[in-house]
Symmetry: C2
Subunit: 354 residues, 2 copies
């Protein structure tokens, strides 16, 4: 391994001169500088990032502690992060296993956590004693969540309202909501839907709410199969959105709901729901319009192509990194940042007014 010492020896100068030459800092004789750079090049010198990190007390590395790498939404988020990190001279790492114990072993300057629940757990288990700037990339799951750390979230309250407005414009009034959680869950999607249905459309929100959770379904056998419904507190368990979507279709049919449109918690659920509801004899969008949330690319592979409320994941990822870096640099940052959503119009919503 080539070090600055080697270069110094070759050039007949001291290491500090080499350092200054290579870092473009302080004074170095122009001739010598050229010479030093030439030698460094010849020797194929690479600064040792570990030594530099030790000396500078920073690593220029950031970590995205993702919950679920199988979910392409998270990967898109990560790609947004990579890009922004790169621009700022940082390396963006990712770790797919939520094992907090490894964090102190990692050589990083800051962490991006995947949602508020993980953040809470982190604060509980590690964060108290181990300070490392943290930022949360939130889906907007819980509107009452205490902002313990700065968070960046998709503006899903406004977004859901927009989605519902879009459906209303197409003539829909009876719009069911399918979510994997309870009626009382404080996520902004549910919240916005309740508001809109109740005050804008004046429809019965109990009737059109389909929560695929053990509470909402009164311990229906079919929902108790899901791992995440069995345990209470384990946020490590990936959620079965797809399967829950399928179950929702069964229940939709059983209840003979007269909704003309269904808004689903996310695209995965929407895909599971659509697949199954078609099997049960419904035609999309003729009999029933479907709208997802996320705007994933795979929605295109559905038949018909899934209309969705797009969360701009890349932009969100970039924002997370921006904010984390500005915290690292000691700049103050406001605690909540909202990224707007977009209506992604494809084929699964019918215009009833035409």
């Amino acid at each position: 391994m080539v070090t600055r010492k080697d270069i110094a020896n070759r050039a007949g100068v001291s290491v500090s001169v080499v350092s200054r030459a290579l870092n473009n800092s302080g004074y170095v004789n122009k001739e010598k500088k050229k010479e030093i750079i030439k030698i460094a090049d010849e020797l194929n010198y690479r600064p040792n990032p570990i030594a530099m990190s030790l000396q500078q007390q920073k690593t220029k590395q950031l970590l995205y502690y993702s919950k679920d790498l199988y979910n392409s939404f998270n990967i898109e988020l990560y790609e947004g992060m990579i890009e922004e990190a790169e621009k700022n001279g940082y390396v963006m790492l990712i770790n797919g296993r939520l094992n907090f114990d490894v964090i102190p072993h990692l050589m990083i300057d800051g962490i991006i956590l995947p949602n508020q629940y993980v953040t809470m757990q982190y604060l509980d288990r590690i964060g108290k004693n181990y300070h490392l700037p943290v930022v949360t990339a939130s889906y907007g799951d819980d509107i009452y969540f205490p902002a313990a750390v700065p968070f960046i979230e998709s503006d899903l309250f406004k977004g859901t309202i927009n989605a519902l407005e879009y459906l209303r414009e197409k003539g829909h009034r009876k719009i069911a909501l399918v979510t994997p959680y309870n009626f009382t869950a404080n996520n902004s999607r549910t919240y916005a839907w309740k508001y809109f249905m109740q005050y804008e459309l004046e429809e019965n929100i109990e009737k059109y709410f389909l929560g695929i959770s053990k509470e909402s379904l009164h311990n229906d056998q079919r929902v108790l199969c899901f791992e995440e419904e069995k345990s209470e507190n384990d946020f490590d368990i990936p959620e079965s959105f797809y399967e829950k979507g399928m179950l929702a279709a069964d229940i939709f049919k059983e209840r003979q709901l007269d909704a003309t449109a269904v808004l689903l918690f996310n695209d995965e659920m929407a895909i599971g729901f659509s697949k199954h509801i078609k099997k049960l004899g419904y035609t999309i969008p003729e009999d029933l319009s479907i709208m997802g949330i996320d705007g994933l690319e795979i929605g295109q592979y559905m038949e018909p192509k899934l209309t969705s409320l797009e969360i701009q994941s890349r932009i969100m990822g970039a924002k997370c990194v921006q904010i984390l870096i500005s915290i690292l640099e000691g700049k103050k940052e406001k605690c909540a940042t909202y990224v707007p959503t977009l209506i992604l119009e494809r084929e699964s919503v019918k215009n009833l007014l035409e």
Copy 2:
């Protein structure tokens, strides 16, 4: 930040004693040792991984340089790696962007590259001057690939033969192969298929070969749309397996192929193919049996559930890490390691003999 010096001060000893006590190395008075550990605990001391890395000249971190995080096969591979790394006291990082320039900035002891092409590029651009143990996780893409670095691959030659034998047992003889590459491509799947069709089944291999590449399709307009067909050498472009599978279905029908079964290069292609061929009026498996390669979980969501040749990705990932670590530890390692495949029997293959 708490350092060993702080602990030493508190305990009234020197740093070396603290070091020895905390590392369980050398002699330390039992009483003092207890005391030191207690203080470390109270102060919530965490060894600085950077300082340790600098001193020990190793980071205990490994990198999986994945090509495509959207492909769940790679994620499974990664999970196998994580587990094995953890067992051996290593941290497994992953980076989704193939930008070789960041590698020298990373604090890692070794790299796992995603296939031989990437390995070649790596060797070309970085590896020559920058030594860092490297291992290749190969799909078995090219049987003539020069083993420049140790590689771990799924035994797809044997596996493909097994898959074809399985199909033969079910009464299939006319078995088409769908791949995204040329007839002359030296990947072991194609190679094994050619062999089996020619010598075991004595069928016409030209007739039943469906290569979805510009060469195989004589610059058919429809294949020229794919990004990866436009450029010659860029291995960074993700491949459009799904879409190519759909195109293959069109071509299968156009040619009025009388195959009773189709073996596809991977599950993604198989899913695209199946979806589209159903649309074209075929029923699976009644009219046509389908078999994929990979054994992905999403194959279960297809209708009917996809029968596939399972690549044991977790085991492969673990093997990669094992070998990389043993190289790091100076143990010799043989260059080629093969991981066996498994027939994953589901619903998309019909038994013609019943």
